[in-house]
């Protein structure tokens, strides 16, 4: 799977309280989506489906709320490439088949607005704007299978 898009940059410790804020939680999606990642004002006003997030350490820290990655998926964000991810967020991404890649050095290799191309299976991250290529951490084959199947619930067969 190749994912390509325009980069929005975020720092370290982007918490689930930013990805899925409690305020306005019960409002309709059209309102709620304006508050996602409220700490980056230009992003909240300018993101487009297909855009990509590049971040620092500990992306998704905080709560177990699955709405954190589910919001990004629903917005049409292509993927998140970060220096590291918080554990529950990472698990939730596997569970709902939202592509995330751990890649050391990514936060310095990209500027906002650069074009990123991710070869998800091979974990190759390219900055097309600056002509840089980085290699991220490959996903464990068992987890890759979950993502390729479309999420963890695709494999439960009760009937």
């Amino acid at each position: 799977m190749i994912i390509k898009g325009k980069v929005w940059k975020f720092g370290d410790d982007i918490s689930t309280d930013y990805l899925s804020p409690s305020f306005g939680m019960e409002e309709p999606w059209e309102e709620r989506k304006k508050k996602i990642l409220h700490i980056h004002e230009a992003f909240t006003k300018g993101w487009q489906p297909g855009d990509i997030i590049v971040a620092g350490q500990n992306f998704g820290c905080g709560s177990s709320r699955e709405s954190a990655p589910a919001n990004l998926k629903r917005m049409g964000i292509g993927c998140v490439v970060a220096e590291s991810f918080a554990r529950i967020f990472f698990r939730n991404c596997m569970a709902i088949a939202f592509p995330v890649t751990i890649c050391k050095g990514v936060s310095t290799a990209f500027k906002e607005g650069d074009i990123l191309e991710l070869d998800f299976e091979r974990s190759i991250v390219r900055n097309q704007t600056q002509d840089i290529a980085l290699e991220g951490t490959r996903l464990h084959p068992d987890l890759l299978k979950i993502v390729q199947a479309g999420g963890i619930l695709e494999s439960i067969k009760c009937k």
């Binding site: 410790d13 804020p21 409690s22 699955e66 939730n92």
Partner: protein, 420 residues
């Protein structure tokens, strides 16, 4: 092969002799904890995916604590459905609103046993490591999977060890220990790792204190956060469970990715400043910042000992007239015990406003929301921008002692001056 507590728990649950870090195992779940919001969404997902029955209703615990009392009819409607599903599925371990905050209730009601594998629909599920359980938060799809199958994949984590030495100085407690660790080593120190807290001070810490530390294990990234199950653990569980309980600890000679040794004999009260849990300063650096709200509550720090410590400071004193003191004991059991001991009376006399034993203002989910530019000092676990419901407000995290002292002065204050 010698194994750490995480490795032992995952090896047993996956039916293996031995597991090592980096391996992925499919493990049988001993107990699944879900709170109201996580149960609702997960149950719907399970049904949508064609599964009609929970794998083993006796291994599930459902606790209503996040959105109570309901604020609107939409929430009330969800709660009504949850009660219906609980009946339909024959879930015996159901605690409706008012019993307490999920993690407190899990421990009090004997659902946490040493060595057990207990995922839960809340990130602070790491709390149960205080009793030696391998416990961690998972999201709704993973919960739905567990409800249908009774098992789940786990990556065997590396383990790090914190050796806690020394004797805590007057006016400091468990919260100061975990905030000090976050401040020194950052919120990434345990990322995707299991922690074992050990050493002479760890052995001395009460179960309430161990719970505070393990609760915040997730704030420094941990998957599991363990104390060894020892005599204190046995004593705590004695009248809470009829299941057999065994001591649980790492094998001597187990291997650790890193070992951190710390002495707490000169510990000062610690405060995590906005907007991150590792933005930690000693009390002397932040004294004097005005606070409009002081909150003693949440799954982190609203247990009997926590409220006793706050009451020791508030006794015979009043909360500042420009500061709202909100107190939310973690459970009905805590309420009963502090009402018998007189602590509740002390808190009320000091001007406390009480809430039902639920999550309350911690996550900005129902009440205690701050106005723009207001500041709160809380015994809770997170201070991210907007965490308590308003991104234009400021949240400081501290011990019950520090929150009590700050309530009295209406500004962040050192609790040590109130203790003889």
């Amino acid at each position: 092969m010698e194994m750490t507590m995480a490795e032992k728990a995952l090896a047993r649950a996956s039916g293996k002799e031995y597991v090592k870090p980096g391996e992925i195992v499919t493990a049988a779940i001993d107990t699944l904890m879900v709170a109201d919001m996580s149960f609702y969404d997960s149950y719907e997902l399970m049904i949508e995916h064609g599964c009609s029955d929970i794998w083993d209703p006796d291994r599930m615990v459902v606790i209503m604590d996040h959105q109570f009392p309901a604020q609107n009819s939409a929430q009330a409607e969800k709660h009504r459905k949850i009660r219906e599903w609980v009946k339909k599925q024959g879930i015996r371990h159901f605690y409706d609103a008012g019993v307490g905050i999920c993690h407190q209730v899990m421990a009090e009601k004997g659902h946490v046993l040493p060595g057990n594998l207990i995922p839960g629909g809340d990130s602070h599920t790491t709390t149960y490591g205080a009793l030696g359980a391998a416990s961690c938060g998972i999201g709704h799809s993973d919960i739905a999977y567990v409800m249908a199958k009774g098992s789940l994949w786990f990556l065997v984590p590396e383990t790090i060890r914190f050796i806690l030495n020394g004797k805590l100085p007057k006016g400091t407690s468990a919260k100061d220990i975990i905030l000090k660790i976050a401040g020194n080593y950052s919120v990434n120190v345990a990322q995707y790792k299991s922690i074992e807290f050990s050493g002479p001070l760890a052995k001395e810490l009460s179960i309430d204190d161990r719970m505070t530390i393990c609760n915040m294990g997730v704030e420094i990234g941990a998957k599991f956060a363990f104390f060894e199950a020892d005599d204190q653990t046995m004593e705590y569980l004695k009248n809470r469970t009829d299941q057999p309980v065994e001591l649980f600890g790492p094998d001597p000679g187990a291997s650790y990715e890193a070992i951190y040794e710390m002495d707490f004999s000169a510990l000062e009260p610690q405060v995590a400043c906005p907007h991150n849990v590792d933005n930690v300063k000693s009390i002397v650096e932040v004294e004097g910042i005005p606070v409009q709200q002081a909150f003693l509550g949440s799954c982190t720090n609203a247990k009997v000992e926590d409220l006793e410590r706050a009451a020791a400071i508030l006794k015979g004193r009043k909360a500042h007239h420009e500061t709202r003191l909100i107190v939310i004991p973690a459970s009905r059991e805590v309420y009963l015990r502090i009402s018998e001991s007189g602590v509740l009376h002390t808190l009320l006399e000091a001007g406390a406003m009480l809430g039902p034993p639920v999550c309350g203002p911690c996550g900005g989910l129902n009440n205690g929301i701050l106005a723009n530019n207001e500041t709160a000092i809380c015994t809770t676990n997170r201070n991210f921008k907007g965490r308590m419901g308003n991104p234009e407000s400021f949240v400081y995290l501290a011990s019950p002692e520090t929150v009590a002292a700050s309530a009295i002065e209406g500004k962040i204050a050192d609790p040590r001056k109130y203790l003889d």
